[in-house]
Symmetry: D2
Subunit: 286 residues, 4 copies
């Protein structure tokens, strides 16, 4: 992350001539300095996608005025749009269970200020990482999940997320299936890391499924959570080579390295407003 | 391939103490010089796999005597085994349709003597590559396949394969589904390249399926053909990164590069007796 | 390649506010439909780079009128610029020696119409591939190179390139070092594939150098040729994993797969005007 | 790591017929159950390398008796050899400076018991990570290094390493160049992670060097430290793709992900006795 403050405009709208001209003309008319720009036109849906990073100091007004002045253009082109401010870090609530690799990785990046986020709290169904999290000065909430208390547990998770004023919930190998209500209340705001190269090996024990099938690569998938298990829009994926000598336990171990890398990349794209959900797919302006 | 003549012993048997000692003791007693050795013990099935490359000139006898002398050890340990001779190139019959990438790639490697194979003929359901194949001095057979003539067509393919004294049939994007009889008559001898990262996207138009699902990597799979479509033992796989801006046509184009690379690697493993089929999986001693 | 005709505008100029607005405003004013757009601002040099693909049919005039109308904007912003037409395929003269892998790969892609190019001729210092090239209907020129005839030989190569009205010369493992004059006469028009991951292992026998150093990956580099050996602007690179068991001959064999893939990608970027040279580096809008 | 106790025999010796037979015959005569075996014959030096993992419980005696009984065979074949015991975890002293990514990654793996090691202490030239390390129950030593105190500082490091009964020293982005004496006193025992794909970009600020040269991939190298800077035997390497839009700061950020992955893999190979140093190269039995 460059240290200069940026406003990021991201939008989608029906495709037509003149969108880029209107947006860039508007920004130029106010001396807006564009530091990064990406476009995409989806041929199937005839929809246009755009992301612009603007140097905040180059504009003679603040983000509210920018939004006000841009609104008429957005209306004219029927845009779904948002403008975010790099100085307002997104608030990421991390949910973990008993595995440490994603949690350590995310807090290492948080500690290095590598991801533009605050972590208002960590929620877990186990006490395992209380000390580790609290050492970082981050509140830790233990919300046990049992076969009998799921509605109450997820209500508690939602309440903690609201109280923390969370922007995004990250399931860092949380190992629990959230309730459909929770998924539906936060579309595009819950990020999961699944330990397979989806759509292969949906559901439980994907590394064991991979071992049985005899694949030569295993993978991980970062996706937005929807009420359909492992079917949400994919943000990022990667794979690692294995061979016949690797046991399911080896796959689990190798897989961790891919899981944490893929989750961190996917989360970064989300935090920098590089992801636009489009139906059940994503546009990711890397 | 080193130019020195090698005998390759590959085997599998129930695992127990003393297999390596017996085999290596046998070879050492005849001054056999081992140039490459690989072992694998499968924990689930308690089966042991082994491959040994021996310098032919280091032995005081030929391959037939080697087989005779080794047979009692093989019997004692209940081995499935074979010994091949690098001086006897495997005969590879290539089946193609109208796409050139795998055919050009295989013939380029054949021309460079990079793969230890002879190509006694190429079979196609189209005339497209007759001139190209014949320019290389390789016979070309046109066997049209229509919805009505399939049994006769595949009988013709099998007949040409027998006449060519083929060891292995390579479906280099052949685009036709062989008959179950043909598949069952040549287990472990028919190699296919499927244009997806199996088990994802079985069957037709996998790149279009991948585009619809919005995956971030696409792949290819080299596998032995069985009578169940795209379900045979996997020999080799690989993937390539794509993004939202890639159309299905782009995926087809990128995919070609992975297909030809994966097929060539899988075929090389087969030609060098590096692959041992084990149930529906493979041990590949790379 | 989409089959629709495109004009591609690529440019660089000193960075300032309003460049995108001016260009996109100009295109929109003529109903130009942008199918792909990329920008880059180089922080060190304060230079701006841009590439726009425009649907030819969306404009009410042809490429000459487009150039005329755009010229005043280009002058205002002090742009280095060009507009190319996808209907006018670039003419690629391929230079080879005795190795086949890059030649087969390029002609396979040419045969499949996968690269938007014509191949007016192939030039070689050996007769090896005359038959193969001529089978494709492409003229083949044998220009022997000896220690004594180099100036004459390269003068002949340059003459053939001019006569062929070549746009770009591709050294597809040509194995000869061109004369400084030739390199300087065609800046950004001669593409080489070097068989190492530059800047490691400049010069001769890079795979042997890699073997001696004990690296765990080997690579290939596609770059524009300058008069300094292996020092020109890099267009594309890739690597492949090796290990201690690989001999220099194995590295040569593995390396071929990377060489042809990297050369094909680099050439495609060049043919689609995705590469802008900037000092001794490149901007590549993939 | 499987939880079963293993003895690992690793050796090198002049190549000749009968080595494998002698070793495997010896093990079989004592009912030794081999769980993993690897061989390598180096053609240039005519030297043979071998690694055998034996199930400890399969032998009727302990490691000392194993060593005693094996010694005559070792002498006969002039072997450099060692036998290690998985129940005796190697003691890894980690040296860090102010960057957290490798330290978090290693301690995450230590916490998960993924690497077969103890960490008797962490040494740093800064106080930054005292709290983090001590939270894990690991002693932390602050040894400041200034231009004036280097001999004393490195003497202190050596003393702490001895007191900790360290087996291996890991420079986890330590950012200091050890004294030649220290390097020479612990050959094959000091592991460094260098932030470039060696031999490119030796020395300081390799990411900036990479940015200036305009490479398209950056890498990291795990190697044993010798008294020649960045010239020691390479254990593991990997790369990551970058492009023109990445600033030196971006390269630093991307590079971290490769550094920690490559260091963790290299360290695991070392801890499992998979690495045999051979001149300035390594045999790595993965």
């Amino acid at each position: 992350m460059s240290s200069s403050r940026r406003y990021t405009l991201s939008l989608s709208c029906p495709d037509r001539v003149g969108i880029v001209a209107a947006v860039s003309g508007f920004l130029a008319s106010h001396q807006g300095w564009i530091t990064e720009a990406n476009h995409h036109a989806d041929a199937d849906s005839q929809r246009f996608f755009m992301r612009q990073e603007i140097l905040a100091d180059s504009l003679p007004f603040g983000i509210e005025a920018l939004r006000d002045k841009f609104a008429p253009i957005a209306a004219e082109f029927k845009m779904d749009w948002r403008i975010s401010d790099s100085a307002r870090k997104k608030r990421v609530v991390i949910l973990v269970s008993k595995q440490e690799h994603c949690l350590y990785d995310l807090l290492s990046r948080w500690h290095a200020d590598e991801l533009n986020m605050d972590v208002p709290c960590v929620i877990s169904n186990h006490e395992t990482f209380r000390g580790f999290v609290e050492w970082h000065g981050i509140p830790f909430h233990h919300v046990p999940v049992t076969p009998d208390n799921k509605p109450a547990a997820y209500a508690k998770v939602a309440e903690l997320f609201r109280e923390a004023e969370g922007d995004v919930m990250v399931l860092a190998r949380y190992m629990q299936i959230l309730s459909p209500e929770l998924c539906e209340n936060y579309p595009g705001q819950i990020i999961n890391i699944h330990h397979s190269f989806l759509p292969s090996f949906v559901g439980a024990k994907p590394y064991h499924q991979a071992h049985v099938r005899g694949v030569k690569l295993i993978g991980a998938t970062c996706h937005y959570v929807t009420s359909e298990l492992d079917q949400g829009p994919i943000v990022e994926q990667d794979v690692i080579r294995i061979d016949h000598s690797d046991s399911p336990d080896d796959l689990v171990r190798y897989g961790k390295d891919i899981e944490k890398a893929v989750l961190a990349r996917g989360l970064r794209y989300h935090l920098e407003d590089r992801v636009i959900v489009h139906g059940n797919k994503t546009v990711v302006f890397r």
